[in-house]
Symmetry: C2
Amino acid sequence: MQLEKLVHFHKIMGDPTRIKILALLSHGPLHGQAIAGKLGKTAPTITHHMTKLREINAIRERREKNTIYFELNLDSLRGQTTALLTLIQGKEREMESMTLTAEKLAVVRNFLDKEGRLKNIPAQKKKKLMVLEYLVQGLELGKRYPERELNEYLKQYHEDFATLRREFIMHQFMYRENGIYELNPPEMWDNKPVPSSH
Amino acid sequence: MQLEKLVHFHKIMGDPTRIKILALLSHGPLHGQAIAGKLGKTAPTITHHMTKLREINAIRERREKNTIYFELNLDSLRGQTTALLTLIQGKEREMESMTLTAEKLAVVRNFLDKEGRLKNIPAQKKKKLMVLEYLVQGLELGKRYPERELNEYLKQYHEDFATLRREFIMHQFMYRENGIYELNPPEMWDNKPVPSSH
DNA sequence: TGTCTAATTAGATAGTAATCAAATCACCAT
DNA sequence: ATGGTGATTTGATTACTATCTAATTAGACA
């Protein structure tokens, strides 16, 4: 359910220590003990909070020998902060923003071969997002996709379905709940600008 | 402290019932019992949640004979949802958005007499917001103003300092904590559009 | 004045969550 | 192997909060 995710996000954010962690990370990546030091908390406490932040996809991590560096996932945070607003301000538009503009389509077409399969996955982020948006058109809003079914769908476009599936999650096109995938509303996708005020 | 407010906002939002209430109100105003009915909760429970929502300025209320109608305060919600983002994404700009544009100033000037005092407080909301922004220029970001000091400052511009002070709070230019007033960051002011994505 | 309706307050209960100390795990380097 | 360092798990403690029932307040109206 969509509501649960929104609530969960805000519940996670409703804690001073976690907000401080995010503020710290906004200056650059840090490892666990550094965070613990700066906040005057013990290591287990930081682990606890990082687990929570991971649940809502607020951070990414990279390990280097024994220590783990955490950094913000700004795209994800942006999407989720605005999700509440889009839920609240007028139910009018729902599918409207779901259609690709013509000029985006032109870009995407460069990555397709004559059979309509992906020649490769764009490395450039902006273009990658356009391709992801293109792929997501074939999925249904509100429908629940078991992982196997999603893989089948993606394999039509590229053999590396696992990467595509991961990108869907990473960029908030879909979310996963016990192995079941489902589309997020378009407002949460990473390629969408923040909606203008009502 | 600014952090506390952010945390409080998210803590309040981290509850399914409250999110449902906001979603209901997005269709139009409702009174307490109607909300209770639609959500299958008792009246005291709704009162409880309304108190919380009031704390973060998420709702406005209007009474009609014996029943109270609640409605969303969208401006306030918009400001607070984006506050987290602006805290997190790069510390670069801070004062940048604090300057009035020339065309806004032109509007404001119509409300000032030759001594620079307010001839009256604009009734039209958009103009009122411009005037408030103008007044707030003389205050210092990060400084704490006891109520008496704030009154003195406002009295320079208009004898009805109480109204102005109330408007500052209502439109998120300032917040109050045990009788002490302090500026909110410009991103929270009601007259600011939602900031575009990074 | 008394009655009806809507809202609030008070008090109780049950569930959740932040934090720490102690123990454990995982990887690295000698 | 063995010792070291950083991260995680476990268990206990404490504090908070959503929800209900019962009691109370506050207007409106007749």
